[in-house]
């Protein structure tokens, strides 16, 4: 029994690695936040492109819109269909050998957050899209009837309402993204999981992995709690009819 407990909770085995593990978790957080910023911005661009040129009257507008829509649909479906791990391996394995200046100079750290950001942008775009489509068409019509252009109506009227409605799924995806940062351990990025695993392979004791899990818990549990609060607040709001116009 002792043997079992010691395999997971051997403080003495983990202690020497604590500074490395803490540094590793800092790497994890940095990657998560950089990837999150990237996917929020890129996801927004994809979601808006996906709506592009629907009401366009000119030929150029229609063709441009169709191209943009086609590109964003292809992007979104590709990254939803292919495993994130494969994308990361593909980027890290090939980028250093490409004869393209900036791309071949990327560090594995940069490739890690770019890769995760690219993948999650596809999910985030779908979340935004659900939000955009949930906003009543009358909102856009009212904005357009006041003389706003399509972009203005989207930016000032539709998106603010859309983003507010999808706050819970956006937070959910941020939590999922943070957990998926563990994937970058295969790229030799010193994130908390890779530090813990390296230690485990030396000591044959899993306590460092347990510490890594504790780091994750300390970060994600508050987020999960916050998410539940946001959902509860949205429910109350919807109940009072604050968001929907009659």
């Amino acid at each position: 029994m002792d043997e079992v407990i010691r395999q997971y909770f051997d403080w003495d085995a983990a202690r020497p690695y604590l500074p490395d593990l803490a540094r590793g978790f800092w790497v994890t957080i940095q990657i998560a936040i950089l990837a999150e910023i990237l996917c929020l911005v890129l996801g927004m661009l994809l979601a808006v492109s996906r709506q592009a040129g629907r009401g366009a009257r000119s030929r150029a507008g229609r063709i441009g819109g169709a191209l943009l829509r086609g590109f964003s649909v292809a992007y979104i479906n590709f990254f939803r269909a292919v495993p994130a791990l494969l994308v990361l391996l593909l980027m890290a394995g090939s980028f250093p050998f490409l004869p393209i200046p900036i791309v071949s100079d990327l560090t594995t750290f940069q490739i890690a957050f770019l890769g995760l950001g690219f993948v999650y942008a596809a999910y985030i775009a779908e979340v935004y899209r659900a939000g955009i489509e949930s906003v009543d068409r009358g909102q856009t019509e009212a904005a357009r009837s006041l003389g706003m252009g399509g972009g203005q109506a989207m930016r000032l009227i539709v998106l603010p309402q859309a983003v507010r409605r999808v706050l819970p799924p956006l937070m959910n995806d941020f939590i999922a993204l943070t957990k998926d940062v563990a994937l970058v351990s295969v790229l030799a990025v010193p994130d908390v999981v890779s530090v813990a695993r390296d230690a485990q392979s030396i000591t044959f004791n899993s306590s460092t992995l347990v510490v890594a899990a504790l780091f994750y818990l300390a970060f994600t549990l508050p987020l999960i709690w916050l998410l539940d609060r946001v959902i509860a607040r949205e429910k109350r709001r919807a109940g009072r009819g604050d968001i929907v116009t009659p």
Partner: protein
């Protein structure tokens, strides 16, 4: 104020032919009330006038400018024509004041303080100056609709389109909204009003247009059309609603 002129308007949704050649000429300062059974194409006609719906064929002129022209500056022309919807369509994430001031700021580039002053004045005109800081959801339907009118007026339109703006309201709230519209009409605004309020059409309208099946069946002086309709279809419609 401006004129609105539509010629030969046809609108099809797939196989469904909703407008089948409508000609409408609205003079400066004229109040035209459009009546007709459900599904006759009243809303579609109105929405074609500011190009929320793109007509399958036909032309629409705002004053001397053709909004249906290939290279028409549609956004700029829409500014000149305000629209009020049956379902209000206020912006729920903005305060009442912002609802009114937003478009002048964003579209016309009016300075924020000036836009807010003007929005307050407009809210005063529709009797809602004390609700400026609230969100639309806190207001009654009638109040929301008056905000929507103020919002359209904030763009200083030369004409206004109203699509059954009192149909979603409780009877006791209808009066206030119609009162605002009446004072607009008296101020010389060019108006096209789709309505079921026959009393309003008779008292405020300069002309009543009866539509059925995507065409104008009959039009003329309100008293004549409403009390002595010539067409059989108009008679049948009026006997059902009056």
């Amino acid at each position: 104020m401006t004129t609105i002129r539509a010629t030969g308007l046809v609108k099809r949704f797939g196989d469904n032919s909703v407008l089948n050649g409508v000609d409408l000429d609205v003079a400066e300062g004229e109040v035209v009330c459009v009546i007709g059974p459900s599904g006759s194409g009243k809303s579609t006609l109105l929405r074609c006038l500011n190009l929320l719906e793109i007509p399958t064929s036909g032309r629409v002129f705002i004053g001397d400018d053709e909004i249906t022209a290939d290279d028409a500056p549609v956004d700029a022309l829409r500014r000149r024509v305000g629209m009020v919807f049956q379902s209000f369509n206020l912006f729920p994430h903005r305060t009442v004041l912002d609802n009114v001031a937003l478009a002048p700021i964003a579209v016309l580039g009016v300075d924020k303080a000036a836009a807010h002053d003007r929005a307050r004045a407009l809210l005063g005109r529709v009797g809602l100056e004390d609700r400026a800081g609230e969100h639309p959801a806190r207001l009654s339907g009638g109040q929301q609709q008056r905000v929507a009118i103020a919002r359209a007026l904030a763009m200083e339109p030369e004409a206004m389109l109203f699509d059954e703006v009192t149909s979603a309201l409780d009877p006791e709230l209808v009066k206030d909204v119609l009162g605002v519209m009446r004072s607009l009409a008296e101020g010389g605004m060019t108006m096209v009003v789709v309505t079921h309020e026959m009393g309003f059409a008779r008292e405020v309208g300069d002309r009543v247009v009866f539509m059925d099946g995507g065409v104008i069946v009959e039009q003329g002086d309100p008293a004549q059309v409403l009390e002595a309709p010539r067409a059989e279809r108009t008679k049948r419609f009026l006997s059902r609603v009056l």
